[in-house]
């Protein structure tokens, strides 16, 4: 197991470099001069040149690349051009809110999606299956800002069960959880829809295997056959989807944070866009890279736990 973890850690280094390179390339291939984007079209050539020098954009491209990778790997994300505060501090201040939201949405997704998917698989082509498939199709068609607004209208403005504003004091745990409910459901519903689909098809595949027949033949209770033998073998595709889905979850959390007016990474990124805070955007993208690589690593390690054969590969 330790060898497996070490190997996976090593293989995530090239991935991290690749994602960082992608960010560097995207920021550079986009036409237009960042200095002019920041200063506006009316900027004098001198001002633009000065800004380019300040951003290090006047250096040769390979040197810029080297500096960029070195800074990212040493955890030096630079400072915001607008507030001059270190980007890492700005991010650290709001990160708990985004982590709360993302984890809670994953819980909603798994707690709703897995049982419904199993239920649908067990009633294949029956009324429950058809309903589950239709509802999951509707669920994954909902843009999160639309579902968020609908939930807000219903449960915060009409019935007033939940607050309109989602910002909570981090120390007040009950309040923090209470204000998390609507945003987490908003963000989690789309994920629940995806997980329902994957669980259904993975369960259908695993329940038709020989070992299921064997388990039933030797008298294992049906409930145990489904939840232990069936689900364990269907878990790899589910974990894959959850891992892949984290990227979508991060993107959608931006929209959820806007709708529920919650502090978080999404609000920071939108603020940086509006203020043309170029260094902040680049720093945020690097931070997103780290998050993705860590999530991929966790997904890989989970494979090894769920299916010991993966550890040998």
């Amino acid at each position: 197991m330790i060898g497996f973890v070490a190997r996976r850690l090593l293989t995530s280094i090239p991935t991290l470099l690749a994602v960082l390179t992608l960010v560097f390339v995207i920021v550079r291939i986009v036409p237009g001069d960042p200095a002019l984007v920041i200063l506006g079209d009316q900027a004098t050539p001198e001002a633009a040149a000065a800004l380019r020098a300040r951003l290090g954009l006047d250096a040769p491209i390979w040197l810029q690349y080297g500096r960029f990778i070195a800074a990212a790997l040493t955890g030096n994300f630079g400072a915001s051009m607008v507030t001059s505060r270190p980007i890492i501090d700005e991010v650290a201040a709001v990160l708990p809110h985004t982590v709360d939201l993302t984890l809670a949405a994953m819980v909603v997704g798994v707690v709703v999606g897995v049982p419904v998917g199993i239920w649908a698989a067990l009633h294949r082509n029956g009324a429950i299956d058809v309903a589950a498939r239709l509802l999951s199709l509707i669920g994954l068609s909902f843009p999160v800002f639309v579902s968020g607004i609908f939930l807000l209208l219903a449960f915060a403005l009409h019935w007033r069960v939940f607050p309109v504003i989602g910002a909570a004091e981090l120390n007040d745990i009950p309040d923090r959880l209470y204000k998390l409910v609507l945003p987490a459901i908003t963000l989690g519903l789309v994920m629940a829809a995806y997980i329902t689909r994957v669980t259904r098809s993975a369960m259908l595949a695993s329940l038709s295997e020989d070992y299921i027949r064997t388990a039933r033949a030797k008298g294992v209770p049906w409930r145990r056959v489904v939840w232990v033998h069936g689900l364990r073998n269907a878990s790899l595709p589910i974990v894959t989807v959850v891992g892949l889905y984290v990227g979508i979850l991060i993107g959608n959390s931006v929209l959820t944070e806007i709708v529920f007016n919650r502090p978080g990474l999404g609000k920071v990124i939108v603020g940086a866009l509006n203020q043309r805070d170029y260094t902040m955007l680049q720093g945020l993208m690097v931070i997103y890279c780290f998050i993705i690589v860590v999530v991929n690593l966790i997904t890989d390690l989970l494979y090894g736990v769920l299916d010991p054969r993966v550890q040998q590969a």
């Binding site: 991935t15 690749a18 994602v19 992608l22 995207i26 920021v27 986009v30 036409p31 237009g32 960042p34 984007v37 239709l134 199709l137 509707i138 994954l140 068609s141 909902f142 843009p143 999160v144 800002f145 639309v146 607004i149 609908f150 807000l152 209208l153 403005l157 892949l244 990227g247 979508i248 991060i250 993107g251 959608n252 931006v254 929209l255 806007i258 709708v259 990124i269 939108v270 866009l273 509006n274 955007l281 993208m285 997103y288 890279c289 993705i292 991929n296």
Partner: protein, 280 residues
């Protein structure tokens, strides 16, 4: 019968797919006929008729500038459809070429290209689109570029897998023997075999593209006002949510319906072309 026609026939026998096609075609028709059918000019302001609820005069009500919501929805559909169709077309062409060439060449080149595609795939697509539009500036063409960038990787994967198999087949070998150029083999002999798969994928990704465009417009990175966009209208409604909730509800429902319709069609086409599901 060609594979595509067979797939369409099988797909239309499924009620979900048919319903999806009807929803999608109705929205496409509303968009195409907007200049004829829209009751008002979508950008015409009428301060006397601000924030009115649905009525016989304004079927879906008016916004904070007194503009007719129904007319704006019909014109807004054009932006959603144009941007998504453009983005998916670009993604199919670029992703398809990358996938075919990478699979055809194989070896280390293939390994590196596919690694790059995996990396592109793992980056949150909305964040990617957001950054690219922000750097390029929000307009129709830049939205197409940004959204297509988020969809290139899956098309490259879809194009590559069958190319790996096809390039070993006798007709490709025959092409080599006849002295055909690589590009002729790729585009005249391999491409026709994978085109239907690319197009089915395209119909599924249209739904995602519509959602991404709406999301970017909602954030404020869509085609600039006063041009109506569904995401932008939802944002306007959201900002007036206490006075006029319908302002956010109608465009929100429009986005949901189009995405749902496209997903239903895409699902049906995929099931109809997937050999594994054929006997279900």
């Amino acid at each position: 019968m060609t594979p595509i026609r067979r797939a369409i026939r099988r797909a239309t026998s499924n009620p979900t797919t048919t319903a999806g096609a009807i929803i999608t075609l109705a929205i496409v028709a509303a968009a195409l006929l907007a200049p004829l059918l829209a009751p008002y000019d979508p950008t015409e302001q009428d301060i006397m008729a601000r924030l009115q609820g649905p009525s016989a005069e304004f079927l879906l009500g008016t916004d904070q500038f007194g503009r007719d919501i129904l007319s704006r929805l019909m014109w807004g559909a054009r932006i959603s459809l144009t941007v998504s169709l453009g983005a998916i077309a670009v993604a199919i062409v670029i992703g398809g070429v990358i996938g075919m060439v990478s699979g055809y060449i194989g070896g280390t080149f293939d390994l590196i290209v596919m690694q790059a595609m995996d990396v592109l795939l793992s980056f949150p697509s909305l964040i990617l689109g957001l950054i690219v539009v922000a750097l390029l500036g929000p307009d129709l063409v830049n939205l197409v570029i940004a959204i297509s960038l988020t969809a290139i990787a899956p098309f490259a994967r879809i194009a590559r897998a069958p190319t790996l198999v096809l390039k070993e087949r006798a007709f490709v070998e025959a092409g080599h023997a006849l002295g055909y150029s690589h590009s002729r083999i790729i585009f005249r002999h391999i491409l026709p075999n994978i085109l239907s798969e690319l197009l089915v994928m395209g119909s599924l990704w249209m739904a995602t593209a519509v959602r991404t465009e709406a999301s970017l417009s909602f954030i404020g990175l869509g085609v600039k006002p006063p041009t109506p966009t569904w995401g932008g209208m939802t944002r306007d409604g959201f900002e007036n949510i206490l006075d006029a909730p319908w302002l956010a509800i109608f465009p929100g429902v429009a986005i949901l319906l189009l995405v749902l319709g496209l997903n239903m069609v895409g699902d049906g086409l995929r099931d109809a072309t997937d050999p594994k599901l054929r006997n279900e």
